[in-house]
Symmetry: C2
Subunit: 492 residues, 2 copies
């Protein structure tokens, strides 16, 4: 299976694409820019969803559902928003087809033209704030803490599996508050929820930070984000949380009566993560043999492969496997017994490596005689013979934690090794070209400098880290004074 | 709260609409025919989804995700399918907006016209079978047992909350099999899964049956369904499961190599339930005071309302409530303590009745003195004083089962009382007009008779029940011979 997988060192981009296809995560569809998420890929996304949804509920949020379509005029109500979003959208203009006169197919019925075109939501601030207007009269109606799981469409010219597709799946939280501080606290809280999810479940260390003005969400006052580093030294924005100020409240006239009876505009936030996280997960940990999945998100945590000759041996191994499966399932570990007789063990080994199953247990005839099994870790490739006189369930259970931690630590070390402070623009360009990674540098805080650096090097400011320490310095580009370092990188 | 709710006997349709709005289940959106599912309504849908999804997985299915858009030409590939579905669809013709020249908004960019229009999926057979073509080469690749949770759009002229909306949420299962029998078995299995869900969780008795040819899904060889009876005597189709034969395999050229090396077309099924189930749930059980939710789908199963004067009393009741909440949560019962100081107990009672919470516990000062609570059942309205010297958790736990069963039994009796065998067309028309409900009658099996009855009475054949017994008779309309009775009703 992995034979067909290019090496990361040779062509990282091709490696990623082939891995997504060969590991049965996703494939291109007949519709340009839209992918099919295959069952194996979707089962990882489901595990992500379940954890994220749980974290949302623990922080007081409820789910709801708003329309797929947005009236065209809504997009222009918030001035910055329309500049950022209204351009590349799928536009519904008609609501009916009719039989072609040649009888061979269907054509759009020109009589069924919509009075106002509908946009397939690229994000839902406008339709949701137009709804909130009816939900909010007084301070008693606040806060509104709502999230929706939905599909959205942004007409992308260049697409890449999970990272940038015309249609993608995501969640978008939209909250409304009585005070500015409460809304800011909410935005920060959700950035932290995302960071916690990325680190605990995806085993992905992230930098928490604030976007520069140019990189801010269209319509936001402040954008908080989590940024991760991929193995090719490029950064990936993994989640964003926006403090919207009163921008959308003003655009849609959403006011509330305070306790004192005054009318005030509501404060808002929005925040989202998407199937892009799948791309981050794949790119951060996988290797030339295929996926490396952290146990907490692996749909299959353990695979048991029998090595046998003839039905009798298979049957005996099957009995042993059943015992192991029962005891692992009892402690919540998912196991697959791969007893397909159409494939050889070597093929199966390669296939489950490609699919990133954290632990493989092989049971052969000698193992049966010795009352042992062979345990192989996907992340390190280390194999060991384990005696069944010892507690296998405890062993595997411990391995799950160990592998989860080990994958995180590896990614953490990689990021540490690839985050470099630089103090001159020459050094900046050199590091960017030779090493990539995050570059920590002083910046004068102007959009002008930011854009020049971007145009000259393709590096963008990923974020101003939340924990950046005050440090007097001079901008690497303009030489003007700077009060803290920011993180630059080329990014997905 | 319930004051504003019309009585069912006065205007059933208005009662339903008002109930949906007042109980915070859904509301109309700015987009014609599309509704907003509000958090309380969505939380019921989430409970439905969780159980249905579990049942799908237990029967071997996996989830996946296919594109929202379908190329227009795909719809015409299966001849019957296009007739049934291609007409009232949302059509995407452009992919970009641009600033209006007057600077005041955005307009569709005429340069961004799609070569081939895209249809927002009304159902996904075509895009999925075009994908399955690449997934299937040999019998080893079968069966494919895939489901997707998705939004779909059918441009409806007359819409009604949950029952018929332009956009709605659903699941659609699409399976592919090597043999005809296996595909038929799958279709029947999924009808049974739906029936089991409706009866066990929704407390909704359903008739399992087969659709007549006229009512069959466009592109199916056989449509299995579950049909339920609402309180106004109208039937509601709650779920369908289609045996597709080789129709879509032929339309999309999906063949497989058999074990013997022959090329054969694949056999297919598709099956779905939607947010329509919400409508069924509401209409089947609710009363003039509001929703009546079966405990297994109630987002809040128990509400505790304190009746107090002053903070000291509230504080003491709060301590008692906390103990009750802890012990109920420990056995998996969801509880809300409604300690809002902005509303009076009477208002809260009415609100939770409106929202269908199965059990209300009221705690007043006298209860505190007597070490008791008042327990009220939403379904029967029966109240009792319960001594906390007894086991409250066991009591409430038992009530959950009792209420679930009682709601089911009530609906079952209602259906039994409203299913009437008739043997003449005059009687048929009389029963239909005076009583409504299901009418069990002989039919000659022709589409012609079926259509005449429909045109003359608005009653349709809901299904040929799976358990219909062979019985010689004559068609109530044509007098021609018939071998079994079928179920007629006016339907949603």
């Amino acid at each position: 299976m992995s034979k067909g997988l290019p090496k990361r060192s040779e062509d990282y981009s091709l490696w990623y694409n082939e891995l997504v296809k060969k590991a049965d995560l996703a494939e291109n569809s007949a519709v340009r820019g839209c992918m099919v998420i295959k069952p194996y890929g979707y089962s990882i996304w489901e595990k992500m969803q379940a954890e994220i949804d749980r974290m949302f509920k623990e922080t007081g949020h409820s789910n709801a559902y708003f329309p797929l379509f947005i009236p065209k005029s809504y997009l222009s109500k918030e001035a910055d928003h329309v500049d950022g979003f209204a351009k590349e959208c799928a536009v519904v203009t008609h609501y009916r087809l009719k039989n072609d006169e040649d009888g061979k197919g269907v054509v759009v019925d020109p009589d069924a033209k919509l009075e106002e075109e509908l946009i397939v939501r690229p994000t839902s601030e406008t339709i949701i704030w137009s709804t909130y207007k009816n939900w909010v009269q007084s301070y008693r109606d606040l806060p509104i803490l709502v999230n929706q799981w939905a599909n959205v469409v942004r007409w992308e010219m260049r697409t890449r599996f999970f990272l940038r597709t015309t249609e993608f799946l995501w969640q978008e939280g939209h909250t409304a508050h009585a005070t500015k501080q409460e809304a800011i606290d909410e935005s920060v809280q959700m950035m932290n929820v995302y960071a916690q999810f990325a680190e605990e479940f995806m085993a992905l260390p992230v930098v928490r930070g604030i976007k520069s003005e140019s990189e801010r969400f269209a319509g936001a006052v402040e954008t908080y984000c989590i940024e991760a580093l991929m193995q090719d030294g490029k950064a990936l924005q993994a989640g964003t949380s926006h403090f919207l100020g009163q921008n959308f409240a003003k655009a849609f006239d959403v006011k509330f009566a305070t306790k004192e009876g005054k009318q005030e505009f509501v404060w808002g936030t929005s925040w989202g993560v998407s199937t892009r996280l799948m791309g981050a997960l794949i790119m951060a940990h996988s290797d030339d043999q295929g996926l490396v999945l952290p146990p907490k998100l692996a749909p299959i945590q353990v695979v048991i492969v029998p090595i046998y000759k003839g039905d009798d041996q298979l049957k005996a191994i099957g009995v042993r496997a059943d015992e192991i499966i029962a005891s692992l399932k009892a402690v919540g570990i998912s196991v697959k017994f791969d007893d397909r007789d159409t494939y050889k063990p070597g093929f199966k080994f390669a296939e489950w490596e490609l699919k990133g199953v954290p632990v493989r247990i092989a049971i052969g005839q000698r193992d049966m005689e010795n009352n042992s099994v062979e345990i192989a870790r996907r992340d390190t490739g280390v194999k060991e013979t384990f005696s069944l006189a010892d507690d296998l369930t405890a062993k595997i259970s411990g391995l799950m934690d160990e592998i989860q931690e080990s994958i995180y630590n590896k990614a953490f070390s990689f990021r540490a090794d690839n985050t470099r402070p630089v103090d001159t623009y020459d050094e900046f360009k050199k590091v960017l070209e030779e090493d990539g990674g995050f570059i920590s540098a002083h910046w004068d805080g102007t959009a002008e400098t930011e854009e020049k650096i971007k145009n000259e090097t393709k590096a963008t400011i990923r974020c101003i880290p939340i924990d950046a320490i005050a440090e007097e310095g001079v901008c690497i580009y303009s030489g003007k004074p700077s009060k803290r370092r920011v993180l630059f990188a080329k990014a997905y």
